[in-house]
């Protein structure tokens, strides 16, 4: 040890200090790069959604790509918005609700804008921050009562461990669900994501090039593969294979369930759904809501009564708004895969029901 050596105080090992003027150059180039990144990527990435396109499952939280799909879907007559019931959890892309509607109402083209796991609180965020392209269009909005079937899924409970889908889309500070306990850094990042196209693009690159992982984790998991080779500039094509076997809940021995329905006055998700409707109306959308279906065959007699009362309350509010409304009939038990997802034949039945509904046909013609 050298006792005479002084403590260094000024030398900069890396020598990368920039003056104010040089920072001006840095900022100018970065701003140009950041603004150019999104259009540049769009021009490079080949995205040709077919007639039965739906967001690939792995890109369910790629909201940048959802925005792009919204813009591409503007050539369709009706945009079908909702959760995995719209997306088609148990069916191939062409057999989803939008596909069935296209077949039963051949004069119109329907776009499947369903997003897996998008509960009303997240749907509000999705449409508010990533769905502005839908402005003024016809929107067929699905209302899934499943999200009110317990305080837990309604997000009005205060459980610590509830895995919240699409957490980035819900209110982060003032209107956040009680059970949402993310760290401050995550919540601030979620807010920034809504306003930064570049962060959205980075998320899109992660989901489309690196299987939803970030570059670091992906390259660590696939050390032998080329990183550059991942940049094919082809949008991910939705899988043709089914995520689940299309088996009726009866065949898969689903259990009857007691539900703790949350009333419309107490429901967090319902308030969010109401705000979704108001948002669409404020944006000049022509809105038609499909309430249900829900697999009432799974409910106990008491549960059926409670659900019936809830459905009545939901319908009452929806009827009070300047929107179209259809309350889905109870589908035959064997047409449900679980509590809320119909099988392919169930979608056909629903589409036929809507096609026979004068209010719906009138709405389509308007």
């Amino acid at each position: 040890m050298n006792e005479t050596r002084n403590i260094p105080t000024t030398r900069q090992a890396e020598g990368l200090l920039c003056s104010p003027g040089e920072w001006g150059w840095v900022l100018a180039v970065c701003v140009v790069a950041f603004f150019a990144a999104t259009p540049l990527w769009r021009s490079l990435e080949n995205f040709n959604p077919g007639e039965d396109y739906r967001l690939p499952y792995a890109q369910s939280d790629d909201y940048w790509h959802f925005e792009r799909w919204c813009e591409a879907a503007l050539d369709r007559d009706v945009l079908v918005v909702g959760d995995s019931v719209v997306w088609g959890e148990y069916v191939a892309p062409g057999s989803s609700f939008a596909g069935a509607l296209g077949k039963s109402s051949p004069g119109d083209r329907f776009a499947n804008l369903g997003v897996n796991g998008i509960h009303p609180a997240a749907l509000e965020g999705l449409l508010r921050h990533h769905g502005s392209a839908l402005h003024g269009r016809k929107v067929l909005l699905h209302c899934n009562p499943l999200w009110m079937s317990s305080p837990r899924v309604d997000l009005s409970g205060a459980e610590d461990d509830f895995p919240l889908n699409h957490a980035k889309l819900v209110g982060q500070f003032f209107t956040r669900p009680l059970s949402y306990r993310a760290r401050h850094s995550e919540r601030i990042a979620a807010v920034l994501d809504r306003y930064s196209g570049l962060r959205g693009l980075a998320g899109h690159i992660r989901s489309s090039c690196f299987e939803g992982s970030d570059l670091y984790h992906w390259s660590s998991e696939h050390p032998g593969k080329s990183v550059l080779g991942r940049f094919t500039f082809e949008a991910v094509v939705p899988a043709r294979t089914l995520r689940h076997q299309p088996v009726s809940w009866l065949a898969s021995k689903g259990l009857r369930q007691e539900r703790q329905w949350v009333s419309v006055d107490d429901s967090f998700q319902w308030r969010c759904f109401q705000r979704v409707v108001e948002l669409l109306l404020a944006r000049g959308n022509s809105v038609f809501v499909l309430l249900g279906p829900y697999n009432e065959h799974m409910l106990s007699p008491r549960g059926k009564v409670e659900y019936g009362a809830l459905r009545k309350d939901l319908s009452a509010w929806l009827r009070s708004r300047p929107i179209g409304l259809a309350v889905a009939e109870v589908l035959p038990s064997e047409l449900f895969a679980d509590a809320s997802h119909p099988l392919e034949a169930g979608y056909v039945r629903l589409a036929e029901m809507l096609a026979a509904d004068p209010a719906f046909t009138q709405w389509l013609q308007d």
Binding site: M1, N2, E3, R5, I7, P8, T9, T10, R11, Q12, A13, E14, G15, L16, L17, C18, S19, P20, E22, W23, W25, V26, V29, C30, A33, F34, A37, R183, H184, S185, E186, I188, A189, L192, L198, R199, L201, A202, I205, R206, D214, L215, Y216, H217, S219, S220, P223, G224, V227
Partner: protein, 464 residues
């Protein structure tokens, strides 16, 4: 609150606006102290009790010394208090565990209860910083600080509170006394330092950590090559992590008109082990030099005493890093390396005949092997890793190489190493050209915006 997270950036933006507005008023120091306590209390408000207590004791100790009489008693009180805090919170569990190992030989039933306390973040840093104040005052090297708020701000100054650099009162207190003059150059250079530090942490250290953690979590299941790669990556991970933190700390302080000391100076380009310690964690090395090595006799007490002082200082330095035998062995290995290589380093042959690159490679290789003990979960794991790595030599690089390392990570490390090599060569002038610096910073900013996943992994040195 971590420098590379959004809460800190928002906190700093709000603080900085106020700081600029109030920097020439009497509210500047209370603001600085308040912000530092908010920053520290963000982890756990209870930590504040400890830092305030520690600050108060050292402040009163120096005040007591300054009023004459019993100077040594005040110093001893301050040292004992700081060492007790450090010993209790950091080493309590380690001591009890080892005592229990010994007591178990006496038979069942001889068990001391382990202290169930949380290690306060940064305690090793701020106690050392505070201790240097009382020792320097006792040595007559500085004046007593009469203003408690200023002294408390010196101990808790948030940019360097939790992981250094360990500043000296003689350097920092005078800066806190005067109204800071903040130029546009301070802001831009502070920002540059921050971006470089952020890049080191978020783009490099976090990446390397993925592979290192995976391999070191399972040394039994990892082969020699993977363990060597992981150790190589860890050497760079800890450098990027810690020097990145320091760069960010220096950058933030610089924007506030405060200059903190350089803590790292391309340590993996060292040409001997002494040189390594003059480049690695400089603020700690110099602290140990001034407050341990020199009091132990330094180089003034003959060859044997000098070597003993070096060895003891190194072992204590190892223990400072953590309450585990792995850190003691790490320090002891550096001590042994230092003692064995000291005569070689001083020889004319080594200084003039051995190529610089070879010296750098030898020093790096030695440091690399010692990092095994620093990173391993236990001594048994460390020996296993060392044994497997050394088996490469007779076995060659044959056989499976799973888990494979990511090529990109290797390229990034080699890129950083090459940059440092060039920085210490004649090409440095080229790297300091305006277009090169601007291009490098632009690339870092764009890379940071696009590539690293959002994360808030803590810095490695926080645990110390």
């Amino acid at each position: 609150m971590l420098f590379h997270t959004w809460p800190f950036l928002l906190f700093f933006a709000a603080f900085y606006a106020l700081y600029l507005a109030l920097r020439s008023t009497r509210l500047r120091l209370p603001l600085l102290l308040g912000a530092s306590y908010v920053f520290y209390g963000w982890w756990n408000p209870l930590y504040l009790l400890l830092i305030i207590y520690s600050t108060l004791v050292d402040y009163l100790a120096v005040l007591g010394m300054s009023r004459g009489g019993r100077k040594k008693s005040w110093l001893v009180l301050s040292l004992l208090n700081n060492l007790f805090l450090l010993g209790f919170f950091k080493y309590g569990e380690f001591v009890v565990e080892n005592l229990n190992e010994g007591l178990s030989l006496l038979g069942p039933g001889w068990v001391l209860p382990a202290p169930d306390v949380l290690l306060p973040v940064g305690i090793s840093f701020y106690t050392f910083q505070s201790m240097s104040y009382t020792i320097d005052y006792w040595r007559g090297k500085l004046e007593a600080e009469p203003n408690f708020i200023r002294f408390a701000a010196f101990v808790a100054l948030f940019p360097q509170l939790v992981a250094g650099p360990i500043e000296r009162a003689s350097s920092l207190l005078p800066q806190l006394k005067k109204t800071p003059r903040i130029t546009a150059g301070d802001v831009s250079e502070g920002l540059s330092l921050f971006v470089v530090g952020l890049f080191k942490k978020a783009a490099l250290a976090s990446y390397l950590a993925i592979y290192v953690d995976r391999v070191y979590a399972n040394p039994v299941g990892s082969n020699s090559w993977a363990l060597l790669c992981a150790t190589f990556f860890f050497a760079w991970q800890i450098y990027f992590d810690f020097s990145g933190y320091t760069d960010m700390a220096r950058g933030i302080a610089r924007m506030m008109g405060i200059r903190l000391m350089v803590n790292f100076n391309n340590p993996y380009l060292a040409v001997d082990l002494g040189d390594f310690w003059r480049r690695w964690h400089i603020s700690l090395s110099t602290w140990f030099r001034d407050y341990v090595y020199i009091p132990l006799g330094g180089s003034r007490g003959g060859r044997a005493r000098t070597l003993a002082a070096i060895a003891l200082t190194m072992v204590i330095s190892g223990l400072w890093h953590g309450a585990a035998w792995t850190f003691v062995v790490w320090g002891a290995l550096h001590a042994a390396g230092r003692l064995l290589t000291l005569p070689i380093e001083k020889s004319a042959f080594y200084r003039t005949k051995v190529p610089r690159a070879l010296k750098q490679l030898l020093v790096f290789s030695f440091v690399l092997l010692t990092w095994i003990f620093f990173r391993a979960e236990s001594l048994a794991d460390a020996w296993l890793v060392l044994d497997k790595i050394l088996a490469i030599v007779p076995g060659g690089f044959r056989g499976s190489t799973e888990p494979l390392y990511p090529l990109l990570a290797l390229l990034l490390v080699l890129g950083a190493w090459s940059w440092q090599l060039l920085c210490e060569s004649r090409v440095r002038r080229l790297l300091e050209l305006q277009p090169v610096r601007i291009a490098a910073v632009i690339l870092m900013v764009i890379y940071l915006a696009l590539v690293p996943a959002a994360g808030d992994e803590a810095f490695i040195y926080f645990q110390f």
